[in-house]
Symmetry: C2
């Protein structure tokens, strides 16, 4: 592990890849990696990008990363795939790479195995590996519908929400709670009919949230950037808005606050994952089995069963 860490620090891509695999698998090795990498941090800028399936996030991220590299940055991308609840991993399509031609970018697709808190623990672990290897910024790409994915994106320094024309994405994004966590909106495929409608929907929802006072909290109205990521139009403006938001955070002294929120979320996930393991183990004990069989024949209610199992923890 020490060798791998030294090689990753020196920028060896194979070593970085292997450390990311350790993070992805989770368990004791991943914990040891957390212990080893926790102290060394260059505080990379964490950018979360989310949007519905098929909204062209991957193409957008590819273009964005190329443009960042052109400006002399070394961006890394973690593309999070929702995993299968049954097999603990997707059968097809879980490793579709984002297309980018840049050599000093690192892009990794990660599925969240079956282990408890998988995704919520893998993301900070991967950020630490990228940080160690000197990447900055780190882009986390998720499909923005599940609660966990929304949580991950929401704890980024800068959160970008992608919507598409003609899909009701603005309403869907709102239903998923994404409007409230967005620092920047992107209307992707902005050449398509209906792009201006999506922009108007988003403006309307921002007006409404302004009325309810949400915006005052951050003192900043999220900009809406029109992008055609296939052609590359709007990518420059998006980069400028990302930079502007980063400066906004720095002026407010908010970057370390975001880092602390991420750490606290990680700790909470660890505590709960541990408790979940313990509660599963309890279900397999003779006392646990007895409670489940009383539940099955209707002798006790789910509430009483939960209380009894809780006492056994």
């Amino acid at each position: 592990m020490d060798d791998l860490l030294a090689e990753a620090r020196a920028g060896n891509r194979r070593a970085i890849g292997r450390l990311l695999s350790v993070v992805e698998r989770g368990g004791p090795d991943a914990d040891a990696l957390t212990e080893a990498t926790f102290a060394s941090t260059n505080l990379p800028h964490i950018i979360g990008i989310t949007g519905p399936p098929g909204s062209g996030k991957s193409t957008l991220v590819g273009k964005l990363v190329d443009a960042m590299a052109d400006q002399g940055h070394s961006p890394a991308v973690l593309a999070v795939d929702p995993s299968s609840p049954l097999s603990g991993g997707a059968i097809l399509g879980d490793r579709i790479r984002i297309d980018t031609g840049t050599a000093n970018a690192f892009i990794r697709s990660m599925a969240t195995r079956g282990h408890s808190g998988g995704l919520a623990l893998a993301v900070p672990g991967a950020i630490r590996v990228f940080d160690l290897a000197g990447f900055d910024p780190v882009v986390i790409e998720t499909v923005g519908v599940g609660q966990v994915e929304v949580d991950v994106t929401a704890t980024a320094d800068t959160t970008i929400v992608v919507a598409n024309p003609g899909t009701g994405d603005a309403v869907q994004a709102n239903k998923a709670g994404l409007l409230e966590v967005a620092d920047i909106f992107v209307v992707n495929k902005a050449d398509r009919p209906g792009a201006d409608d999506v922009r108007r929907d988003l403006e309307l929802m921002l007006d409404l949230s302004h009325m309810t006072g949400q915006e005052e909290l951050s003192g900043r109205r999220p900009p809406i950037v029109m992008v055609n990521s296939l052609e590359g139009t709007g990518i420059g403006e998006l980069l400028r808005e990302i930079e502007a938001h980063k400066e906004h955070l720095e002026v407010l002294g908010q970057r370390s606050a975001a880092r602390l929120r991420r750490l606290e979320a990680e700790v909470r996930t660890r505590v709960l994952a541990d408790l979940e393991q313990r509660s599963k183990a309890v279900g397999a004990t003779p006392e646990g089995r007895q409670i489940n069989s009383m539940l099955a024949d209707g002798t006790i209610t789910p509430i009483e069963a939960a209380q009894r199992l809780g006492f056994l923890l």
Copy 2:
């Protein structure tokens, strides 16, 4: 509460609606309702319907429910909306009703407030209310991307996964783990170009899962039904496939097994929600604050912080 229960049992729609609101709010009243309704069950057939946003699930469910009512059933629908992680409720659009013209159907849209385990507890609670009022089947409609939504759908007796032409839905559904939980596939908007491609994608993935032996577990290959829910084409075939799957479960004696799986999942959610509450409370104690401040200044790692907080529970 006793009056409400009696009225709901007699089929009073207002009373049923009020009980569902109690379930939706959660907390002690919802628990009391669980205690009161747990014993009385007619074992309604639970049908889960899921698919990506915009796949026309609501229209499909509307047509399906009309057809069920025409056959003399009394269907109820619970349409689950993902809720906002920040405000604890969607601002716009969270109560869009499914369009159905049927009088003996009951359709309810439900957002999952901020409380822990909200959705995972509200669904069994709502099923019990519908059960009490004599509805059968009960249809649970979710947006199939989040883990919680997938879990909810997967614990139905019959799980229907909806895909659309031209969207890569088959691959997306696979990534979300939906292929493995599906008992029936629907290709909706089957009049559109690409519908046959989606069917082929699904067949291919089923062939692959056959090779890996998953299908042997259930002894049944999920049928793929082509539906145009705007026109109503394919709804009759879908109804027959639902009925066939219900009979398949009954022959195998699997219906009570599915009910027990739902109960155990509910109990697990209750145990974890309780633990989550306790761990939040611990974070606000002087000891909890001290741990978080050591985490912030890098004195301890997230792993050590989690251990220390775990001890305080």
